[in-house]
Symmetry: C2
Subunit: 178 residues, 2 copies
């Protein structure tokens, strides 16, 4: 069965610094029509960094859409045209002030493919060297470290609620345990 | 350190069927100001359903923002005011035509907390009974089943790219293996 939805019309509602919103008219596989609200968003990277003591590097950040802070791994949007590995190294250094000897790909995830094209590339970083943390001007965060096994427990018990962090931590856990 | 960002102003750009977009002016922890583009989106549910033969129920769906199909677990948005467990049972029956004896919570994930408030509640369903599948009018999908261990392999190798599916599959894998 061909499930393709064909674009008949696209209306740009908003073009911001981060989000571009369009409302599209599409033809469905059965010939009918439907409306699709689509948010275009830059792709991102997220890095689970483990130090020599087996601790994960974490950032606590205020997430304005939720009205509260969230415990996450270092992450961020790719700059225009930036290669994902380069973005991962940049964000890890900017947010947490560390540089790794080793950066392993953990695949990528689409965060909400029903309405948004955002894809986040996940990485595992090891062999950490301290540099100097220098977050973006309008970015405020608190960096901490936690034993990796404790972090896995917090993910499994539902206390870690950031999607990219859940995906990267559990992928790494299963791959490292193999 | 108080990381709170205080709303100074909020301008509604678009109110659609699924997304409401606002552009807000906020006061940062250091007294400075910044702009936040925020997409409000209904919360959702996603269900990893395992049958007696140890196979997972999957749906392949065309994801218009990506321009291609994606392999996912059954999922959907909560209807206004709907309780997450009820939504999980409804979506599982609508999309895959099965009803479970047992529904276990796997926690929830925020899909992209930097710009969007969407939260997806994850579930593990077991003891499946076939009913009749009746997807939404403008929803076209292909249902299949795959041995759970094979699905875990596809997630770890990066071939499953849907974030909620990655999170639910790996949480279930680690919890069931305990």
């Amino acid at each position: 069965m061909d499930l393709t939805e064909e674009r008949l019309d696209s209306r740009e509602i908003f073009r911001g610094h981060i989000v571009t919103l369009t409302v599209d008219q599409v033809r469905l596989p059965n010939g009918g029509q439907a409306v699709r609200e689509v948010a275009r968003h830059p792709d991102g990277v997220a890095v689970l960094a483990l130090d020599e003591a087996g601790r994960a590097v974490l950032v606590t950040q205020y997430r304005y859409p939720l009205g509260r802070t969230l415990l996450e791994i270092p992450a961020g949007k790719l700059d225009g045209g930036e290669e994902p590995r380069a973005g991962a190294l940049r964000e890890l250094e900017e947010e947490a002030g560390v540089r790794p000897d080793e950066l392993t790909e953990l695949g990528a995830v689409y965060v909400s493919p029903g309405f948004c094209d955002e894809k986040i590339h996940l990485y595992l970083a090891r062999g950490l060297h301290q540099t100097a943390s220098h977050p973006d001007e309008d970015e405020f965060l608190s960096v901490s470290r936690m034993p990796f096994d404790r972090l896995v427990e917090l993910v499994l018990s539902g206390q870690v609620e950031d999607g990219k962090t859940v995906a990267a931590v559990l992928k790494a856990k299963l791959i490292l345990d193999k």
